[in-house]
Symmetry: C2
Subunit: 322 residues, 2 copies
């Protein structure tokens, strides 16, 4: 079922949708962020929120009802908090769309609609989750309010996967250099802005803390100058994710500061991969996160090799109940 | 001018408010979070968003217009990004309320209304900023949609400042113990849930990174189990801020995990100060952040003493242009 068909069918059932909720945990929460960011910036009437699943479960917003669409997301479809959130949303009468990779997983049980995304095939397939959720947001906005750049966005969806694949194919040297240089660092910071804000967050909490047991913090680079920048000194390690689009000025300002005080800085810049020459400028902001997430996955893989610490190594996950 | 008077006057001018935006930077952004959290959970029609100021400036949401209220916040009233956001909101026709401590500061220039909060007098005065912004959110919701617990909330506002003062008066021993125990740690994590989520964020980026130059990260404790918890090992230092209210189960689950694997854990728990016996249970969630922020300020002060590193010491702020 196409994304467009799902939203049109919901609209036939409920022409008066007021709220769109995005609900997930960890990387699957941050993968929802570009859609929420797009919606927050472009909707004139519809409300939107992004929740970590147990926050949604324990302090459920009063507006979750038959006038809301709830989009839940879990790669394997088994994340207990997100499965519970899906059931709760359904029970409250919301129109529930589950996004997952695994057919008939627990997440799909209470959903009205299920969107399946790829994973194993290649880097582009791993970015389907984030991209398809953005696609849902675009369809909702266009159906309920109209969206003037709808066609440019569809053109972007048609092109982004190839750009991700061609980009990741070029970054091995930079990724190896990053891995060699950062492999013994006790702490690494990550930051970005715009739609890419939670890509920095996910790299910090999942790829560094979870999968490499490296200490880390992350923040919006507009916030950098209001606290975190005082940690900067010669050699303090940062990963800065730079956007092509309206928030680039914030990324550039952070870079200038990091360079001025000799922080140890690695930049991953969407402009280097030609994002803006492939995607129309009116919508380019929203395609940074999937391109950059694809690229920095290679960085994480090389870090894992350099540290002899596989990305699948865990202390607790998959090993015990918690 | 009372908070109630401001909102009633806006309503006379514009009965059709659709969106409420909160805009600030760093600690003044996190001080807006409880109000945004309250609004997101309790509004049925009104939209709400929280932006770091330059994100608002560079990627201004299309819905900022005469149907929106924009609340901007800066302690000294001079934060350039937030001053710019105030002017931009005004220019777009929004109803702008500036919240600041400093009379006639730059922030007040383009605002339709100014709310002044205390600071120097005591710990309670330092919590006025966060509390009065929550008060504005309650007034907006009550005027435009009605809010069934309005009176309980007002009762809370009448009592919270005394509770903050009486609580901070008791915590010196615990704060000194925290300071002694954590003073040489290379990294400290902070986490919480519910309305207190960004209190952990502010403690991490402002009190630890900015004012103590200690490495730090923060996250929602519902997210803890989806990445960050793999960093836990014997002795890894955490500060856990526990709420009295609906999201306490998340805080408790995080505590159990930290204890199970011998993390070095300091708990600041609103229940220990009797929050729930002073504030009605229907609204208690929203009064955790000001109580806990007051208490952990004492912890930060003691950490500064133990480390011989004053909270006012800076490398960059107040010293150079950036």
């Amino acid at each position: 079922m196409s994304l467009n068909y799902i939203i049109r069918e919901i609209k036939e059932k409920q022409p008066n949708i007021k709220s769109v909720f995005f609900v997930g945990c960890g990387a699957s929460k941050s993968d929802l962020y570009p859609a929420k960011y797009f919606f927050e910036g472009n909707a004139r009437h519809l409300r939107t929120s992004l929740y970590t699943a147990n926050e949604f479960n324990y302090a459920t917003p009063v507006s979750v009802d038959e006038t809301s669409i709830v989009i839940t997301c879990s790669l394997g479809g088994t994340t207990p908090e997100t499965v519970t959130a899906t059931a709760k949303a359904k029970e409250l009468g919301a129109h529930v769309i589950a996004v997952t990779h695994v057919e008939d997983s627990a997440l799909t049980k209470d959903a009205d609609y299920v969107v399946y995304h790829g994973w194993e095939a290649n880097y582009a397939a791993k970015m389907e989750k984030m991209t398809m959720v953005l696609g849902l947001a675009v369809e909702i906005l266009n159906e309920y309010e109209g969206y003037e750049h709808y066609n440019k966005m569809q053109d972007g969806f048609a092109k982004i996967y190839n750009l991700i694949e061609s980009s990741v194919a070029t970054v091995l040297p930079q990724a190896k250099a990053f891995a060699d240089s950062y492999k013994d660092e006790p702490v690494i910071y990550a930051m970005s802005s715009g739609a890419t804000h939670e890509v920095a967050y996910a790299f910090s909490i999942c790829l560094l803390m979870e999968m490499q047991w490296i200490n880390s913090g992350s923040f919006h680079d507009g916030e950098f100058f209001h606290g975190p920048f005082e940690i900067v000194d010669k050699g303090v390690p940062f990963l800065l994710l730079m956007n092509d689009g309206r928030t680039r000025a914030m990324d550039s300002r952070a870079l200038e500061f990091l360079n001025r005080f000799d922080a140890k800085t690695t930049v991953v810049d969407a402009k280097d991969f030609g994002l803006g020459s492939v995607i129309a400028k009116e919508v380019v902001d929203y395609f940074n996160p999937m391109l950059i997430t694809g690229v920095i996955r290679v960085y994480a893989e090389q870090l894992a090799i350099a540290r002899n610490h596989p990305l699948t190594k865990r202390r607790y996950m998959w090993k015990l109940e918690y």
